[in-house]
């Protein structure tokens, strides 16, 4: 397993994430897409740290922080989705469009 493999995978993850975010018709799936993106980043950091700077682990630390932040973000996101559901009775993003123009 070389660095390239990791990078390719993370790239795929990232793309999938973006794809999900753009296409899914459900807020939760969008959240998942976002998680994919963030994780692809974490994978990158870890991989780079492992292969480029073996003696320095700062990359892996960043990855850990990334995971934490992703978790926090997911929490907030879910809370907001709840609020949305309360107000709009739906979590389909394209129905949440009173603000426009």
């Amino acid at each position: 397993m070389t660095l390239q493999h990791y990078l390719v995978i993370s790239a795929i993850l990232f793309t999938l994430g973006i794809f999900a975010v753009l296409t899914r018709r459900n807020a939760i799936s969008i959240l998942m897409g976002i998680e994919l993106i963030l994780n692809s980043c974490n994978l990158n950091f870890a991989a780079f740290s492992r292969f480029m700077t073996p003696e320095d682990i700062s990359g892996q630390i960043i990855a850990i922080f990334g995971i934490v932040l992703a978790a926090a973000e997911a929490a907030v996101f879910l809370a907001i989705i709840l609020a949305i559901y309360r107000e709009f009775g739906s979590i389909r993003p394209n129905e949440v469009d009173t603000l426009k123009g």
Binding site: V21, L22, T23, N94, T98, K100, G101
Partner: protein
């Protein structure tokens, strides 16, 4: 001394006006504005006589810097030579007399004080014009007299005809003035100064600097400046304002539109004499000649007493122009002087007749008379409308001559007749003036001046020695004859024969003293003997020698002689005149002058003889037509209907201009209604109409759509784009995210390429 005199002459009338103006601001009136103005005028008159003594021996000039710039200065100043002095006297004299006359004539007018204030202002401007030693000053006076004539023609501005006439007068003359101004600009661009005299002046410079190469532009400049004179002196083709100007009170007609202002054009041309080239003098001569003849012929068929005189004035002014154009500088000025007196006299006389006739209208006051007069005009006419209608009906007033219905009854000669018993003084004085203008020998001044002109023209023609320049002489001669004819027609129709309108006749009466006295004074002044008391041959300096063009140069000496001869004759009768003529002949030295003179000696005799003959013929004819009635005007009219019509319609000038303008905006049906017949007014209206409809459409389109619209368009586009951008903001979050992605990709692609 002279300076103080001049200042007095100028300031008195100005002060008289200033009093009126300042009090006017607080809506008060000086109780005796009339006395004030008259007194001012009389002082000015006295001063000008004193001045004559002062300056005749030696011309004087006083200048002050008016505007001084880095390397250009415009000066203001007086140039006083005998010509100036004589003009001063003419102006002040006539003006004073008119003032006195007006006290009677205008009595009881609601705007009585204002009338005198205006007269004072006019006198000031005219005097300023006369004494100025530089073109700028002359131009200033020039425009100011224009303003005064505007104010005075429109004095009874409730009358729409008057309101139109005054505007027409101002605009017509202004067209000429613009020409004059362009001429001034040309001279200024060349000489960097506008003052005429002195070594820094235009004359000196033109003498020293100009070469034959400059003749072309100098001729153009000369003609352009003459344009000013064309406007003011109502020469063709800008003459049409003067007859309309008769809408003003009669004293105004006498002062401004006969004696002084209209003569200013002649005066200017005389002043500019030294820089008139061969070509420009020819133009002037022809314009003058044609005007003299045409106007005379038109006058034949008028019935409105004032219009007859108006056309006669135009024709006489043409005479003077012709004289100056032909190089008879002195003769022109001499005729200007004599004409000033007898024409003023004629107008005042007619005024007195008119005045006599209103009395019978049982209206005490002119203004009321003018009111019902204007009501007489007011058929199809409503107030709030544009001036075009006004002109429409002044047009009717003109065409009305044919029916004879639209002439104010008290000015229509067909209501008159046999007045000589009723108003003897008026009759006598007017008769004297008429004899004078028709050039009856030898005791009337008009004869001498006219004769001098004829002589000059003939002599010039001979000197040119090309056949077609004799046309000028022919014109002059026939004009002289016709003048005699229509003037006597006027006299016969007014004062002789049976009263045509009995009840009017019964009411008529001699005018009060204040009016008859001026008549008498002027009558006396039309006798050369009196003139000579102050108008002495020696007074007339030869004009500054122009170095520009040989022929005129050659002609200066003999011309001066002509002038003197004319005057000499006026003093001692023919024989001495001939003698004077002789020594004039021998007196001249250089070869040029000799040729000139050879043509000239006989010229004078021939001219005199012929002029006497035509004058006699004219008088005889009109006697036969209008007194003995052995010949009937009607039958002649019918036989020569086309010619008659030609005269009647004033050579279809008005119709012609209408036609042109109609062609200009033929698609306007109501155009005839909108255009009056005059040139400038027509054109201005034409432009007005064109502006209102075409140009306004254009302006409306251009200014609002194109200029403004461009901006508005930009604004609209901006808005539209704003709207577009808004629509991208759909409110659907995924669209936003897509834009983000697209943005990133685009940025990468773009900068990948870089």
């Amino acid at each position: 001394m002279t300076v103080s005199l001049i200042s007095l002459i100028l300031l008195c009338p100005l002060a008289a006006f200033a009093v009126f103006g300042l009090l006017g601001l607080v809506n008060r009136r000086f109780p005796r504005q009339d006395y004030l103005s008259t007194a001012a005028m009389l002082i000015a008159l006295a001063c000008s006589f004193l001045l004559l003594r002062e300056v005749v021996p030696k011309p004087e000039a006083h200048t002050v810097n008016w505007i001084s710039l880095g390397n250009v200065t415009f000066s203001m100043g007086f140039y006083l030579d005998s010509v100036t002095a004589i003009m001063l006297i003419v102006v002040t004299l006539v003006s004073s007399l008119v003032h006195i006359f007006s006290m009677g004539y205008m009595h009881g007018d609601p705007r009585y004080p204002r009338f005198f204030a205006y007269l004072s202002l006019f006198s000031f401007s005219m005097l300023f014009l006369v004494v100025s030693d530089n073109l700028l000053g002359i131009y200033i006076g020039w425009e100011l007299v224009g303003l005064c004539s505007y104010l005075l023609i429109g004095f009874w501005f409730e009358k729409d005809s008057a309101a139109n006439a005054c505007k027409k007068a101002f605009l017509t003359t202004r067209v000429g003035d613009v020409g004059m101004f362009i001429g001034m600009m040309m001279l200024f661009a060349k000489f960097k100064t506008l003052s005429l005299y002195g070594e820094g002046g235009i004359f000196a410079l033109s003498a020293s600097q100009l070469t034959t190469g400059d003749m072309v532009w100098l001729s153009i400049a000369g003609v352009l400046i003459f344009c000013g004179a064309i406007g003011k002196s109502a020469q063709m083709p800008l003459h049409t304002w003067l007859p309309d100007a008769m809408e003003g009170p009669t004293p105004v007609s006498a002062l401004i539109h006969a004696a002084t202002m209209v003569a200013a054009g002649v005066y200017l041309t005389a002043r500019m004499f030294p820089i008139l080239t061969e070509t420009s003098s020819l133009v002037i001569a022809y314009v003058g000649g044609i005007t003299a003849l045409v106007a005379a012929t038109i006058a034949i068929v008028r019935f409105d007493i004032k219009r007859v005189l108006a056309y006669s004035t135009i024709s006489q002014l043409g005479y003077m122009m012709l004289a100056i154009g032909a190089g008879s500088y002195v003769a022109g000025l001499f005729h200007l002087t004599t004409h000033a007196f007898f024409k003023a006299l004629l107008f005042l006389g007619s005024g007195s007749v008119i005045h006599a006739f209103h009395a019978m209208h049982a209206h005490g006051h002119d203004d009321e008379h003018e009111h019902d007069d204007s009501e007489a005009h007011e058929h199809t006419h409503d107030q709030g409308d544009s001036d075009a209608h006004g002109h429409e009906h002044s047009e009717d007033a003109d065409s009305g001559h044919i029916l004879g219905s639209e002439i104010p009854p008290d000015q229509d000669m067909r209501n008159m007749g046999g007045l000589r018993h009723k108003m003897p003084i008026t009759f006598i004085t007017m008769l004297i003036a008429t004899l004078s203008i028709s050039g009856v020998p030898f005791i009337f001044s008009g004869f001498w001046s006219k004769d001098a002109i004829l002589a000059g023209v003939l002599g010039r023609a001979m000197e040119w020695n090309s056949v077609h320049h004799y046309i000028l002489f022919i014109m002059a001669l026939s004009a002289a004859g016709i003048t005699a004819f229509y003037m006597f027609r006027l006299i016969f129709m007014t004062f002789f024969g049976e009263p045509r309108n009995q009840e009017m006749h019964d009411m008529a009466h001699e005018s009060p003293l204040s009016m008859t006295v001026p008549l008498l004074v002027l009558a006396v002044l039309s006798l050369p003997v009196v003139n000579t008391l102050w108008f002495n041959a020696d007074y007339v300096e030869p004009p500054p020698q122009p170095h520009l063009h040989a022929p005129t140069h050659a002609y200066i000496a003999p011309d001066t002689k002509t002038g003197r001869t004319g005057l000499a004759l006026s003093l001692f009768g023919v024989s001495e005149a001939v003698a004077a003529e002789e020594d004039a002949g021998h007196g001249t030295q250089d070869a040029h002058a000799d040729d000139g003179h050879h043509g000239h000696g006989p010229a004078h005799t021939i001219a005199m003889v012929l002029s006497i003959c035509v004058a006699g013929l004219g008088i005889l004819l009109s006697w036969l037509f209008y007194h003995r009635r052995t010949l009937s005007a009607e039958s002649v009219t019918t036989t020569f209907r086309p010619i008659y019509n030609l005269f009647w319609h004033k050579y279809y000038f008005d119709e012609f201009y209408d036609g042109v303008l109609v062609a200009l905006t033929v698609w306007k049906a109501r155009l005839f209604a909108q255009f009056d017949g005059s040139v400038v007014d027509g054109i201005v209206n034409g432009v007005g109409v064109v502006t209102r409809d075409i140009l306004a459409a254009f302006v409306g389109f251009f200014d609002n759509r194109v200029v403004d619209g461009l901006v508005n368009r930009v604004a609209q586009v901006t808005w539209a784009v704003g709207g577009r951008i808004r629509r991208i903001q759909t409110g659907a979050i995924q669209t936003y995210l897509f834009v983000v992605l697209a943005g990133i990709v685009l940025l990468i692609l773009i900068f990948r390429a870089l």
